[in-house]
């Protein structure tokens, strides 16, 4: 079976500044795959290429075998990929419910909105309680949940999470990861970018290490967890 997502030799740049050289990896249906790497290694850039926010200079991105790297961002969402951006980027002056509803903006997902909403509320009961509250007034953890919930509203096949643990207290990080696991169990494939290496690898099935715009290592989570190079890269030991 073809992998759900195949990234093949993509290269990208911001203006004249090259950010990705030659990145290839794949994600199988049902997996949680994590992209590891230091700041500036190109993790977010890779995500932006996949979600169509940044046009690659070369290479291909395929979803279920279909090339998507030339599609505009909204079409990529429609095809089943959603990115939960770093820093959540909610609409602070809109209610929780409105944020969620807009997650199902595309006509395809609009039709199933009520059902999806029930599902999201079952995953995040706290959001259900606060549905009328403005997103800007939620706590950090709640905001992260809302961001994930908003992403789920489009019923994605692939959920891309960019640093979901950023700025959250450890207990909340745990909670968020717990939910990611649950979402995955319900059939959503997950691509996770994390700084929190150990937790990411606890959660993921496989991982890739990105260094200065190139994939330098890959393996199962267990392999990477044992890899001394990972420790070296992160702690300089």
């Amino acid at each position: 079976m073809a992998p759900l997502l195949e990234v093949e030799k993509i290269a990208a740049a911001y203006g004249e500044v090259r950010a990705l050289w030659d990145v290839s990896f794949s994600v199988q249906t049902g997996e949680i795959v994590t992209l590891l790497g230091a700041n500036g290694a190109g993790k977010t850039t890779t995500m932006r290429v996949i979600s169509g926010l940044l046009r690659p200079l070369g290479g291909e991105v395929r979803l279920g075998g279909r090339p998507i790297h030339r599609l505009p961002a909204p079409r990529i969402v429609a095809s089943g990929i959603v990115q939960i951006p770093e820093g959540r980027r909610l609409w602070p002056r809109m209610s929780v419910l409105e944020n969620l509803e807009l997650g199902a903006y595309l006509p395809e997902s609009r039709a199933r909105r009520a059902q999806t909403l029930d599902w999201v509320f079952s995953l995040f009961p706290r959001l259900a309680e606060r549905r009328a509250q403005l997103a800007g007034t939620l706590s950090g953890g709640e905001q992260q949940m809302l961001a994930i919930g908003r992403g789920l509203m489009s019923r994605p096949r692939l959920l891309m999470l960019d640093e979901p643990s950023l700025g959250l207290a450890p207990i909340l990080v745990r909670e968020v990861f717990e939910i990611v696991r649950k979402i995955n169990a319900e059939g959503v494939t997950v691509l996770l970018v994390e700084q929190n290496v150990r937790q990411a690898l606890e959660l993921a099935t496989r991982g890739y290490v990105l260094e200065t715009g190139r994939i330098t290592r890959s393996g199962t989570a267990a392999e990477l967890l044992q890899d001394p190079e990972i420790k070296r890269a992160y702690l300089g030991m």
């Binding site: 980027r89 909610l90 807009l102």
Partner: protein, 294 residues
């Protein structure tokens, strides 16, 4: 002269004016919110809206209120087209470029109108132009009341559209964070077109309502545009609900201030409020009670 009934009737007049002010500023606020550009052609569309109302009125004896409604789709389309062929092209360059482009557009609109209708004062008289309703012992001009009512109704509709339709929500979302919009599949380019269309439509709509109260020429619109700036700045620029508050503040301050100063200084109030509001409360009046957000 500061008798109680006098103060009250000034208050009523101010309230009625506030409705008009709000309607005439909404278009500016929507365009600013989504595109972050001050629409200097706003006055042009106010004026053109008024002239189109005149055309409907003369050709088909269409009441200005109906003319206002007809203007909505007509100018929505016009705004959309203008966005697509003109405005879109400068949105990516300097902010000043879009500002000046819209200024140039105003110049063009003004002079096209001049070529078509000449510079004479035009006005529309309807059966109810001079009618008035007694309310609690105060005489309220029917046109003002109508304009106020229509303004309220439109604001209601607008709030409904912004709050309860997908396009409206997408529009608000784009105002707050366009990038996040892209991530859920909102086509920001299209939303910008919608915003420019809506902004234009509302300007023209307000222009139609103005014909019930004022005579107009191709030069008409300038002072209203400056007042609209003041209103949306007072309202907080990105806060649609703030527009109504801004309109009320300007209208009340203007109306009552004239009791204490030369009437010929009336416009200074709007200009001074504009500058002071920008400097002292860049977040608009709303920031006074939503300080908490950092």
């Amino acid at each position: 002269m500061l008798t109680a009934p006098n103060l009250i009737s000034v208050g009523i007049a101010a309230l009625l004016t506030a409705g008009l002010y709000a309607v005439m500023s909404y278009g500016l606020a929507i365009i600013y919110g989504v595109m972050k550009v001050i629409n200097l052609s706003h006055a042009g569309f106010l004026m053109l809206g008024a002239f189109m109302t005149l055309v409907y009125f003369q050709r088909w004896h269409l009441d200005p209120l109906l003319g206002a409604l007809l203007n909505l789709p007509v100018f929505f389309a016009a705004g959309w087209v203008l966005y697509a062929v003109l405005v879109r092209r400068v949105m990516t360059s300097l902010p000043i470029a879009s500002l000046l482009l819209l200024f140039a557009l105003w110049l063009v609109l003004q002079n096209v109108a001049l070529a078509i209708w000449g510079s004479e004062d035009q006005s529309i008289i309807t059966a109810y132009t001079y009618k008035a309703l007694p309310v609690l012992g105060f005489r309220i001009p029917l046109t003002r009341l109508l304009v106020f009512g229509v303004a309220l109704a439109t604001l209601g509709v607008l709030h409904f559209v912004l709050g309860h339709t997908y396009v409206g929500k997408a529009l608000r979302a784009t105002v707050q964070d366009p990038q996040a919009g892209v991530l859920v599949g909102i086509d920001t380019e299209r939303i910008s077109a919608v915003a420019f269309g809506l902004g234009t439509a509302f300007a023209a709509f307000a222009g139609s309502l103005l014909t019930l109260l004022f005579s107009f020429t191709p030069d008409f619109g300038g002072p209203f545009q400056l007042k609209s700036f003041t209103i949306i700045v007072l309202g907080g620029l990105e806060n649609f609900a703030g527009v109504t508050v801004g309109a009320a503040i300007l209208s009340f301050v203007e109306s009552y201030a004239v009791l204490f100063m030369k009437a010929s200084l009336q416009n200074v109030i709007a200009y001074a409020l504009l500058v002071v509001a920008l400097i002292v409360m860049p977040g608009g009046v709303a920031q006074l009670w939503t300080r908490s957000r950092s």
